[in-house]
């Protein structure tokens, strides 16, 4: 997904080569683990693309750089997760990113929501960062060593992203009347998609995954492969309303949307986004740039 130049045939720079090196390390994901990684990878990929849309459009140069940097970190997570997922099916990260249709994407719907104005993006990023922060912290103790390694790396990065969102939430919420109004509108617009974030993973073959929950409150115990989302929801419910109130804003009361991203059901926003993201790779299959 990162443009790779075709410098020399002997230097293996392609994502396929990364996939090979993962495969050589005997870390091939089982089907259920691959599906899990695919969902997390799609979350990161879709949000990374949305953030990339801000470049040259942000309200100030520093924010172009900031949102671009956050997107780049997320793209890094996506590449690792999709490469790992693809190891189960012999597909590359590029196959998964560029050659799946809308209904094959498994991202939760929050991440595909359009950027809106800057406050919409900050609201989306705030919810996303709190979710990723809890998720990756817990996933570091997954019994799957590849997932644990990806999560350990991601945790440090997401921590910084969360800080960025919180600072903007406070600045906009406590700023002018207009910034306050817009921040509130952004929170209200993104809130319906919060509910789906903590809905249990579905579509995983039964009995395929050791569904023993990871206890996020206890540093010592280690249960299974995937993260139990219930404790993450409690943490979210405790942290986010407090942050919103501190910023002088009101916790939204709009009902949650139906969700279904993990089953391939998406809002109308995803299709056009994918069309733009995939057009080059589909018009010129196999191209490198």
């Amino acid at each position: 997904m990162i443009p790779t130049t075709n410098r020399s045939a002997s230097t293996a720079l392609t994502p396929e080569a990364i996939a090979e090196s993962i495969a050589a390390d005997e870390t091939v994901a089982s089907e259920p683990v691959a599906l899990y990684a695919l969902g997390l990878g799609d979350d990161a990929l879709v949000l990374a693309h949305r953030l990339g849309e801000w470049i040259t459009h942000a309200p100030e140069l520093e924010e172009d750089v900031a949102l671009g940097n956050i997107g780049l970190d997320l793209l890094g997570h996506a590449r690792s997760l999709l490469t790992y997922a693809g190891s189960a099916w012999g597909t590359s990260e590029d196959d998964l990113a560029y050659f799946r249709g809308e209904s094959e994407f498994r991202n939760r719907q929050l991440f595909e929501q359009p950027n809106g104005d800057f406050a919409h993006t900050i609201a989306r990023q705030l919810f996303a960062s709190v979710y990723f922060d809890g998720l990756y912290r817990a996933l570091r103790r997954s019994t799957d060593p590849t997932l644990a390694a990806i999560a350990a790396k991601a945790t440090k990065e997401v921590d910084y992203h969360l800080d960025h969102s919180v600072q903007w939430l406070l600045r906009l919420g406590l700023g002018t009347e207009e910034s306050h109004r817009r921040m509130q509108r952004g929170l209200d617009a993104m809130w319906p998609f919060v509910g789906e974030l903590f809905r249990a993973e579905t579509g995983l073959p039964e009995g395929g995954v050791a569904h023993v929950p990871l206890d996020v409150t206890d540093g010592g115990t280690l249960g299974g492969v995937v993260v139990d989302l219930e404790p993450l929801r409690s943490a979210f419910d405790e942290i986010v309303p407090r942050l919103i109130t501190d910023a002088g804003l009101t916790v939204p009361t709009v009902p949650f949307a139906r969700g279904g991203g993990r089953e391939g059901r998406h809002t109308e926003a995803l299709g056009p986004m994918l069309a733009e993201m995939q057009v080059l790779a589909r018009a010129h299959p196999g191209v490198t740039w």
């Binding site: 520093e62 900031a66 350990a152």
Partner: protein
């Protein structure tokens, strides 16, 4: 001053627990730069260690702690070099991979593969002292120590690499690359990059 010799001495003194402290610095240094002990592999390591970070060309991948390991299969002559990215999405990894292969090919190692490893996750604590000095001379404020594995403490002032003043201000939490933030010196007015604690 290695931890091993310190411990060895202690045992020689009839169980006196004097030298009980394992040298934390030496342990960290070993973790940051796991240079192989095997002579053939050490030679390859030293060649790979000359590759510089394309974004910060005063630092070698060894200074950074990005070079993680070298294995050499004597029978087949194949070489595997392990590197770790500073940040998950760091695009410099591809250039480093290219450069490692290039320098080893140039020195007679034909069968070279570079493997990207994610664990243990990279930290700025692995930056060598020499690397920190080189960074400062290059005009980038070096990272401080990470606090106990927790969140980054931003309350501390960052010293201006040009005039040495502590009177500096963060302009942007994100800079020209993933690993840097943008600062400005209030005294000499120069903007400068700070290598973020990570």
């Amino acid at each position: 001053m290695t931890s091993a010799s310190t411990l060895g001495e202690t045992r020689g003194h009839g169980g006196v627990e004097r030298g009980h402290i394992v040298h934390a610095d030496a342990v960290l240094e070993r973790q940051a730069r796991p240079r192989p002990l095997n002579e053939a592999e050490r030679a390859i390591w030293d060649l790979a260690a000359t590759v510089v970070d394309p974004e910060v060309p005063v630092l070698t991948i060894e200074d950074l702690g990005v070079l993680r390991g070298v294995t050499f299969a004597t029978a087949s002559g194949s070489v595997t070099v392990e590197i770790t990215p500073t940040y998950s999405g760091c695009p410099a990894v591809d250039a480093m991979r290219d450069d490692i292969v290039g320098v080893l090919h140039g020195n007679g190692y034909d069968d070279v593969s570079v493997k990207v490893v994610l664990a243990p996750a990279w930290t700025t604590d692995w930056l060598s002292d020499e690397g920190r000095t080189k960074l400062e001379e290059y005009g980038i404020a070096a990272p401080g120590p990470r606090r106990g594995g927790g969140t980054v403490s931003l309350g501390l002032g960052i010293r201006c690499p040009r005039c040495g003043s502590m009177h500096t201000r963060q302009l942007s939490r994100f800079g020209s690359t993933s690993c840097k933030a943008l600062y400005v010196c209030q005294r000499c007015q120069e903007p400068f990059d700070h290598f973020k604690e990570h």
